[in-house]
């Protein structure tokens, strides 16, 4: 099917530009990126279905690293079908799924299951990650070779830190021989054990168990030392505190193959948002101070932090309607990552090409996926959105099965108008 998307503002994260133009799509790929002055009446576009974008913004679809789909095991919280619907509505065209399901994705068989279910139940692309160690227990490494052959794009134990440094060191060494990407959760596990919030004035006032942001720096520094020793490709899943940035900067300057991510929640919320024990704001690592948040935004702007992700973590009402310490961590984010990220655009801190560099281009490059680009030959995974359209988020309207968003009732600006995967419109669902 051939499509011509006309009258759009094209965001090209590679070139760092926003220009008026059109995109021609053929056979699921971008056939041509056309400037404003291009002749759209040319004969070769005569058979294209035309969609007028109404002067709105068209960008490469978001590639979201770290989506928890909850399938297998917790389908009452989320499934491939509902996560796919949420992703489509949020402009996410590739879900990089987490292995922290029940059972863990730690064998080629469970990975095949996830891939198959994903293929059957949703039009969104699925790029599955596998666990680094069996059952994410931090003792024995998984069959990395088989898993990579089966399509695992990265290896991660999620928020289970591999405490045994020898195990991690060996797993990294083995991963290096395969050229595999290891994703770490930088956190000193003993310091952060049981913590619900970040230590400081707010934690003291609320009397909640807290962890110092230094635990993140310590965790990161350990991982980076092992990266230096093993030369593995490494990605820190979430950096959330300013204290961790110098170590990251140093590692990059030393030429280590290291990248880092940040969740949209740590970019747009701070510890005070927890307020009167609001459990929808309980995430892992906990929300940080405003200074830390600002440092994260600056690090995304400078490119020190490479990737923005939603850390989509569905939790049902029962796991959240508990005293704060006992409540589950995590927030859904597939549908809100774009409007939340646009807060940083509206505040003048990040421009749109920078945002899509962090949400689309860099994740694709890091995972060696073919996407995230606004150029000829790239997959036609695109999102059309109006960055200015205002709305008030009502969590009950979310497509995720779980409604645990911290943005409920908040004013947002920026709405997805259409999403395309391989040139086919996946949102709104075609009539």
């Amino acid at each position: 099917m051939k499509v011509l998307l006309t009258n759009a503002i094209l965001i090209d994260p590679e070139a760092g530009t926003e220009t008026a133009g059109a995109v021609a799509i053929s056979a699921g790929k971008i056939e041509a990126v056309l400037s404003e002055t291009a002749d759209l009446t040319a004969a070769k576009y005569a058979k294209h279905t035309r969609i007028d974008c109404g002067g709105k913004h068209l960008a490469p679809g978001i590639i979201d690293i770290g989506v928890k789909v909850c399938e297998p095991g917790e389908r009452h919280k989320e499934s491939f079908r509902t996560a796919g619907l949420a992703a489509a509505a949020g402009g996410v065209t590739t879900m990089v799924t987490r292995p922290d399901t029940l059972p863990t994705v730690d064998t080629p068989e469970t990975l095949e299951f996830a891939k198959r279910r994903g293929g059957e139940m949703t039009d969104i692309r699925i790029a599955p990650m596998a666990a680094l160690t069996k059952d994410r227990a931090g003792r024995e490494m998984v069959e990395m070779g088989f898993l990579q052959d089966a399509g695992a794009v990265a290896f991660s134990d999620g928020d289970n830190v591999v405490t045994d440094t020898k195990v991690l060191s060996r797993a990294m060494t083995y991963a290096r021989s395969l050229g595999a990407l290891v994703m770490g959760h930088p956190q000193e596990p003993i310091l952060s054990d049981g913590a619900a919030v970040t230590s400081g004035k707010f934690a003291s006032l609320r009397g909640l168990p807290a962890v110092s942001p230094l635990a993140e720096r310590m965790g990161l520094e350990r991982d980076l030392a092992l990266v230096e020793a093993t030369k593995v490709r490494y990605h820190a899943d979430q950096i959330s505190s300013a204290a961790a940035l110098p170590a990251l900067e140093r590692a990059k300057a030393d030429g280590l193959d290291v990248t880092a991510g940040v969740s949209i929640h740590h970019l747009t919320l701070n510890e005070l948002d927890v307020g009167d024990y609001r459990t929808f704001f309980k995430v892992k690592p906990p929300l940080r101070s405003e200074d830390d948040r600002q440092a994260m935004v600056a690090a995304v702007a400078s490119g020190l932090i490479d990737i923005i992700c939603s850390m989509h973590t569905p939790q049902d009402e029962e796991s959240k309607r508990l005293p704060f310490e006992q409540a589950a961590s995590g927030a859904v984010g597939l549908e809100t990552i774009l409007p939340a990220a646009l807060r940083l655009f509206h505040s003048g801190q990040l421009d749109l090409p920078t945002l899509f560099r962090a949400m689309s281009l860099n994740p694709a490059k890091r995972l060696r996926l073919d996407g995230g680009r606004m150029s000829k030959g790239a997959p036609a995974d695109l999102v059309l959105f109006d960055p200015h359209a205002p709305f008030i988020l009502n969590r009950e309207t979310l497509r995720s099965k779980s409604k645990n968003t911290p943005f409920d009732g908040q004013r947002m600006q920026g709405q997805v108008l259409r999403s395309f995967v391989a040139g086919t419109q996946v949102f709104p669902p075609n009539a």
Partner: protein, 316 residues
């Protein structure tokens, strides 16, 4: 004055006027409690349920007596042994009790914020009897009443709170209350038992007991939980007593007429010298217990009155 609070969840939400109103009314109840016939009928026909998810003898007894003296029908639920153990969630337990139409719920819970959560789900007044490491508002109020009666005022006093501040909800509520009433608050204790960034709360922090007690009007000791003495937070019981236990020598740095307080139960010879605790010229520990009943009567009466003065469904 009008006391408008819907619940009493913490000192954080009270104004200085609210605090004064509670203490004024409590003063009247002290007189009633000392009289022969101790019965009022302000809460007659109302149901008070004490839900203690954490063991307590004195606080629960105090709330029970307070309710009974005001004529309420008081019921104690030992939540330790109840359906919570069978897997029922806090909210379900709350809704179950709520369906029995209580007028007052007195709740103690081991987790910070749990009482706030419960208060959102029921339509009667909720009184926080201590939640985790968060707040214990009636303890701070009874301490305030004790201080006011002993010192003749509750402002411009220098007050040292000593010991395990980090794990203490009593300390948090007292810091907030005494600050609101414009007193100078000092915190004294080993750094391992201080909450992070506590110096941002408008208090002075001391690691040396003698320095911290210099010229204070009130010395407030806190209980040190047994499980914190095993080398995790402090090296040993005896070293703690040596450096932070209140004895006559350390107390001599405070003003001559300084009073000594303790929320109880005391560990004699750990945080306080036994003789000192019994010294009726310095220690007001027994008065604190007495004030506890009066303050709780006042809080319950004001909450019930605030509810009665508002039409159904407009509580904010």
């Amino acid at each position: 004055m009008t006391f408008r609070a819907e619940h009493l969840l913490g000192i954080e939400h009270l104004s200085p006027t609210d605090i004064t109103a509670i203490l004024d009314l409590a003063d009247q109840y002290v007189a009633l409690n000392r009289s022969e016939r101790k019965h009022g009928d302000t809460l007659a026909g109302l149901t008070q349920i004490n839900m203690f998810f954490e063991n307590s003898t004195r606080t629960q007894a105090s709330f029970e007596i307070a309710g009974k003296r005001l004529g309420a029908d008081v019921m104690n639920m030992a939540m330790q042994a109840s359906s919570i153990k069978k897997g029922e969630t806090l909210i379900d337990t709350a809704l179950t009790l709520n369906a029995m139409h209580p007028d007052l719920l007195v709740v103690r819970h081991p987790h910070s914020g749990a009482v706030n959560l419960l208060a959102e789900k029921v339509n009667c007044a909720v009184l926080n009897a201590g939640d985790g490491k968060h707040e214990h508002p009636t303890q701070a109020l009874l301490d305030a009443l004790t201080i006011r009666r002993a010192k003749g005022r509750l402002h411009r006093l220098s007050i040292a709170i000593c010991g395990d501040i980090a794990h203490s909800r009593v300390a948090r509520s007292n810091i907030l209350l005494l600050g609101k009433m414009e007193n100078r608050v000092r915190l004294v204790g080993p750094p391992t038992l201080m909450p992070s960034e506590i110096d941002h709360f408008g208090v002075e922090v001391f690691e040396d007991m003698r320095e911290g007690l210099q010229n204070v009007d009130v010395v407030m000791m806190l209980r040190l939980q047994k499980e914190r003495m095993d080398g995790g937070f402090i090296p040993s019981e005896r070293e703690y007593y040596h450096r932070y236990g209140l004895d006559a020598d350390k107390l001599s740095h405070a003003k001559d007429e300084a009073i000594v307080m303790h929320p109880g139960p005391m560990n004699r010879g750990v945080e306080i010298d036994g003789t000192l605790a019994d010294d009726i010229n310095r220690s007001v520990i027994q008065e604190q217990v007495e004030m506890g009943v009066a303050v709780r009567m006042a809080c319950m009466e004001l909450l019930v009155r605030a509810r009665a003065s508002k039409p159904e469904g407009v509580m904010v």
